[in-house]
């Protein structure tokens, strides 16, 4: 789907560096073949330039001009440090600088989670079936780069007719060893028929490094399964963060995504769902908070491939200072996908005159009996609402905070796991407080 106007790879020191990193990649034959194909694809397309429509407002040439290395030896991270950052209490997988940390992780055998490396080594057939095929490398240049260079990750299989009692939390932590490095974790979640579970992924910088996180999460939802995927990106503000989440949904499955983005200098998140059966439900919620010169870009794509399915998407953003946000919402409705009901909303609240949003719905509908709507707004705090609050004794900053909170809360309430929701609310409150200065 991406047409790339490639910069000649020779102009990109980053590409040579990536090729070197890819050359160190290991794995069984089937994986090496996939990695090689992905590496070849990436070498061909390179890091996208702003001439590429998909990247028009999101300049990533800085990724191409940096000779990224592999992360160095990570300093020790304490269990207490990890605990303080957690959003949940159940099973935990920790990756430090893209490498699985067994000592910090807690993955009871019965939950069906292990490191990606361990799963590959054990000849896991499900991994072989899906790794790099759910989010195919041609999807975006960086998904190809991910497959070529990923270091490790996490695999979760929720067996048919089982429920994951507590959400699996995956912590992607970067340390001082990530400075100048590519950090490339991958997550694969599969839910069998009628399986249920929630996964929360966090991306956190323990040191304020200039690194490049290129993270891919693949989700495979079997028939009648229910999966909630929560993604919290709060990396340091010097980092580049490129994320790709792709859910493949079978008949009558329910996917609920929530993405909070408040870190990184530049964050691009592609979130895709393929509705590959009837009676599928896809919910995508997101909130981005940006300040200083941050840029947060969300590109969603919802593929209605079959009839009688629904998708519902609400993304909201609060922008301060000279920060920027990009939202692009694609909805593809195939000719066969009659009775599709798709609704997309993107609302932005600007806290400064210098913040900017580029928002664009992109509906491509080839069926005639469908209900597809979209709406995008970019606005400021409402003066009449502020005044009304003032006349009730709620003034100044308190009124501002209340109104911003009211704006953001609509999506936050969509996180169904209450403990995680409360944790996310705290993170958001703290950041909003900082944004108001």
């Amino acid at each position: 789907m991406t047409t790339v106007a490639p910069i000649a790879p020779t102009e990109q020191p980053g590409v040579a560096a990536f090729a070197a990193l890819a050359a160190h990649a290991e794995g069984p034959e089937w994986l090496m073949a996939r990695r090689a194909a992905a590496a070849a694809h990436f070498a061909e397309v390179g890091v996208p330039s702003s001439r590429n429509e998909e990247w028009r407002f999101t300049p990533v040439s800085g990724i191409a001009t940096t000779a990224w290395t592999a992360p160095g030896v990570s300093p020790a991270v304490s269990a207490e440090e990890v605990a303080a950052l957690r959003l949940s209490e159940g099973p935990l997988a920790v990756l430090i600088d893209g490498r699985f940390a067994p000592d910090l992780s807690a993955l009871p055998a019965e939950i069906g989670a292990k490191s990606l490396q361990a799963a590959i080594d054990s000849g896991d057939a499900v991994v072989r079936q899906y790794l790099g095929t759910v989010a195919p490398p041609e999807m975006t240049p960086f998904s190809a780069l991910s497959l070529a260079t990923f270091t490790d990750g996490v695999v979760l299989h929720i067996a048919a007719n089982t429920t994951l009692d507590a959400p699996l939390e995956i912590m992607h932590l970067t340390t001082s060893a990530a400075d100048g490095a590519l950090v490339a974790p991958r997550v694969l979640v599969t839910a069998g028929q009628n399986a249920r579970g929630a996964v929360v992924e966090q991306f956190v910088s323990l040191a304020d490094t200039l690194h490049f996180s290129n993270a891919v999460t693949e989700l495979v939802l079997g028939e009648e399964s229910w999966v909630e995927h929560i993604r919290v990106q709060r990396e340091g503000e010097r980092a580049w963060h490129i994320g790709f989440t792709h859910a493949d949904q079978a008949r009558a499955s329910h996917y609920r995504g929530f993405a909070l983005s408040l870190g990184a200098k530049l964050c691009r998140h592609n979130i895709h769902a393929r509705l590959g059966g009837e009676q599928v439900e896809t919910l995508m919620y997101g909130l981005y908070l940006t300040r200083n010169e941050q840029l947060a870009d969300t590109h969603s794509a919802i593929f209605h491939d079959q009839p009688n399915s629904n998708s519902w998407e609400v993304y909201k953003g609060v922008l301060a200072d000279k920060s920027r946000a990009v939202f692009n919402g694609k909805v593809f409705v195939q000719p066969i996908a009659q009775k599709t009901d798709a609704k997309q909303t993107n609302r932005n609240l600007l806290l400064s005159d210098t913040a900017r949003v580029d928002t664009k719905p992109q509906l491509e509908i080839f069926a005639d009996d469908v209900k597809c709507t979209h709406g995008a707004t970019v606005g400021r705090l409402n003066d009449e609402q502020r005044y009304y609050l003032q006349t009730r004794g709620i003034g100044g900053r308190t009124a501002q905070e209340l109104l911003i909170w009211a704006f953001a809360a609509e999506v936050l309430t969509e996180v169904t796991v209450s403990r995680i929701r409360a944790g996310i609310e705290t993170i958001v409150r703290v950041r909003l407080d900082e944004m108001l200065g």
């Binding site: 609050l389 006349t391 709620i394 009124a399």
Partner: protein, 255 residues
């Protein structure tokens, strides 16, 4: 000292003068009704007293218990005891009525150096005040005024007034859009709040409200000025004769 003292107040919006010299004295315990043609400046007067930023006071004074009102931010006026029930209450999606009311209540308490009330203690107060407007607790979980009917919005303003217990309550056409039962509930609510230490200014077009809430004084505002003041009989006279005899021109063209 009067509770509210307005002296030769001039105010404009967008360079256009709307209030053209208003003087009014309101003592504690009194109820004043302000009537007058559409566009005569009644809401403007109410909003200027409440502190709406769209209006510039070009001359004159307004004091509450001797304190300069015009020098205060809108929230400071609320802390000082001013409450305006809006002609058009504002919707605030995403904030529940319960949260909003408790926050308003506590902000005012804080400003007065009192302890904030926790949600449980506040609930006791709220239950009592809900009875004033004959409402069940369901309304508290809805977003402030959001999707409320016109009448519900007005009733919600009275609920807020009951909770915040102002010294000076200004009700801008709180009776408009109310059915007869709601009008009685709102009037009973307002009467319940009548106290020797509290004053009420009612802006209304209808004598009917004044049957329920009997005013001590009635003023006619036309063309940005108070053109006539009197007792409660004045309202009956207006009902019978309209405003023409006072303004010399047809209603609506008074500005």
């Amino acid at each position: 000292m009067p509770l509210l003292q307005i002296t030769d107040l001039h105010a404009s919006a967008d360079e256009k003068e709307i209030l053209k010299g208003i003087s009014l004295t309101v003592n504690a315990g009194e109820v004043h009704a302000i009537m007058g043609p559409n566009g005569s400046g009644k809401s403007t007067l109410a909003q200027v007293l409440a502190g709406h930023p769209a209006y510039d006071v070009t001359s004159g004074t307004a004091t509450l218990e001797g304190e300069d009102l015009l020098d205060m931010e809108a929230e400071e006026r609320a802390w000082a005891g001013v409450f305006l029930a809006f002609q058009y209450p504002v919707e605030i999606p995403g904030v529940t009525n319960a949260y909003f009311l408790r926050m308003a209540f506590n902000e005012i308490r804080k400003a007065r150096g009192l302890d904030e009330l926790d949600p449980m203690d506040f609930l006791d107060i709220l239950e009592e005040k809900l009875r004033v407007v004959q409402w069940g607790p369901e309304i508290m979980e809805r977003a402030v005024n959001f999707g409320f009917s016109g009448g519900e919005k007005k009733r919600n303003e009275i609920l807020q007034m009951a909770v915040l217990e102002p010294k000076l309550a200004i009700l801008d056409e709180t009776d408009s859009g109310l059915d007869i039962d709601a009008l009685r509930i709102v009037s009973d609510g307002v009467n319940a709040l009548r106290r020797p230490d509290r004053a009420i200014i009612l802006v209304t077009h209808y004598q009917r409200l004044l049957d329920f809430i009997v005013p001590d004084f009635v003023h006619v505002l036309a063309g940005g000025k108070i053109v006539k003041s009197g007792g409660k009989e004045l309202a009956l006279e207006l009902e019978a004769k309209g405003y023409e005899w006072l303004t010399g021109v047809a209603e609506g063209a008074a500005v």
